[in-house]
Amino acid sequence: MDFVTLGGNLLGTIPLGDIVLYITPLSLFLFIVLLVFTLLIAISKTETQVEATLMKLSNTNVKVGKKEFKQRRFLSVICGIASAGAMITGDLFNFTLFMALIGILNIGIVSAVKQTTVLNSAYQYGLIAMMCSLPLFGGASIILASTGTLSLAVLSQMPATPMVVFGAVLMLLGILGESGVAPFFASKAEMFRTPGSPFIVIIHLSSLFIIVRAVEILLLVLW
């Protein structure tokens, strides 16, 4: 299957040997949206979360401390850039690397908070992400071993052999776990209870966009 039937007309390519970066309306749209959100994250302050206090009539204001703010903003910006990279890469292995990096950064963004429920959720998501890194990289390795290339431009022109299908299924499993979408989102949802709206949004955004890109890649490889 070619790029045109999936993401629209080819707008341009950046040939780097066997690996060709390509830009279609789809990848351009995803790339620009991620950069816009990354810019907003970089310049935004955090909100003050108002919570009810148990056994009292007053509210509790939960804020993000200065040190925590700097650390989380840095990780969020890196996560935005990594996600943007995953949107335009034309190489299967680069995609898996970006995917693993996003998984690690997602945990890092909430690891500085002090709410136990949020940390528990991050821990559970971390376990799933760690386990799913094996099928993620394993799937890409199997595709490389059976076809001899990781370039999506070349893979899209090759017929899907049983080993390629097996590798793609493994990759799909890895992507589902690493990005924490259904049925794994239950472990991730609690992470969003922490204050720091601009930072937690990139966790959600990176997961959703990586799935869109993953489907494009898998369809390119399989059909």
Binding site: T5, S44, E47, S197, V201, I211
Partner: protein
């Protein structure tokens, strides 16, 4: 450029009136007179001229930026769909950003209602699975993600609603979940006041209502286009009114589900329809 502006205007106007009709239908089913059909449009315009207040707790400039992103993203939806007949995957990306905005406009306000709505928006990501599965099934059947190619396919092979009806049901689930007062609308449950919209006032709410109108129009347009083939303007109009009537009837007679039931219902129906459609394609 003129084409884009005209289509955005039509999308806003038609979407507003359809949402007004939706409210009217719900009211009539519940034996209430209901507001006039034009009320949603009037509300949207009114909010642009109301005084805007910003709570002290908000995350600036995210709190403001997010509603502009929401409006911009649905204008992109109009360009990719009705104007350019582009890729369905881009429209899925548009929908994904819509989920992000739903998530972030709630959390950026600092309000506990917005925050609860934000966490539910993450859970309600289950709606994306049936949508995604429907898009992939359309691709498997037609061999293309481009709406133009899908229309051409249907012109020669007949509407997809007859060959992959279960995929159409999955897409309809998305329409239902995004319609006002939906049983799956857990992010706007009245227990959360207005959910993620609770702390957005004045022109910010105007932008949200503008985007909601366009999003309703675009989602109906996509559904009709990819399952009912090439339609005339009258065909689209009748189709949109019928779909609005069906969702209005369902929503007025169905209580809102709790988050767990909402998610499990959508995932189960999505899985059943996906497997059923794959079996139908293979047979």
């Amino acid at each position: 450029m003129a084409d884009i502006l005209i289509n955005v205007f039509i999308a806003f106007l038609a979407g507003s009136l359809l949402l007004g009709l939706h409210r009217k239908i719900m009211a009539r089913v519940q034996k209430r007179p209901g507001p006039p059909i034009i009320q949603h449009l009037l509300h949207s315009l009114k909010f642009f001229f109301k005084e805007t207040a910003f709570p002290k707790t908000v995350s600036m400039p995210f709190y403001i930026g997010i509603v502009f992103i929401l409006a911009a993203i649905w204008v992109v939806g109009v360009i990719v769909g009705p104007v350019a007949h582009g890729s369905l995957l881009i429209l899925f990306g548009v929908y994904a950003v819509y989920k992000i905005v739903e998530h972030n406009s709630g959390s950026s306000s600092g309000s506990p209602y917005g925050k609860a709505s934000c966490v539910r928006a993450v859970l309600s990501a289950a709606t994306e699975l049936p949508l995604f599965a429907a898009i992939v099934l359309v691709y498997l059947k037609t061999g293309s993600m481009n709406i133009g190619d899908i229309i051409s396919y249907q012109a020669t092979n007949g509407p997809l609603i007859f060959s992959i009806p279960l995929a159409a049901i999955m897409f309809f689930l998305l329409l239902l979940s995004k319609s006002p007062y939906s049983p799956f609308g857990i992010t706007k449950d009245k227990a959360l006041v207005s959910g993620f919209e609770t702390e957005h006032f004045g022109f910010l709410r105007g932008f949200i209502m503008f985007s909601e109108s366009i999003s309703w129009y675009v989602m109906l347009w996509v559904f009709l286009t990819i399952f009912f083939g090439p339609l005339s303007a009258v065909g689209y109009l009748i189709g949109m009114i019928v779909l609005t009537f069906i969702t209005g009837f369902i929503n007025s007679t169905t209580p809102i589900l709790n988050p767990n039931h909402s998610v499990m219902t959508q995932i189960t129906m999505g899985a059943v329809c996906f497997i059923g459609t794959v079996v139908m394609i293979l047979i």
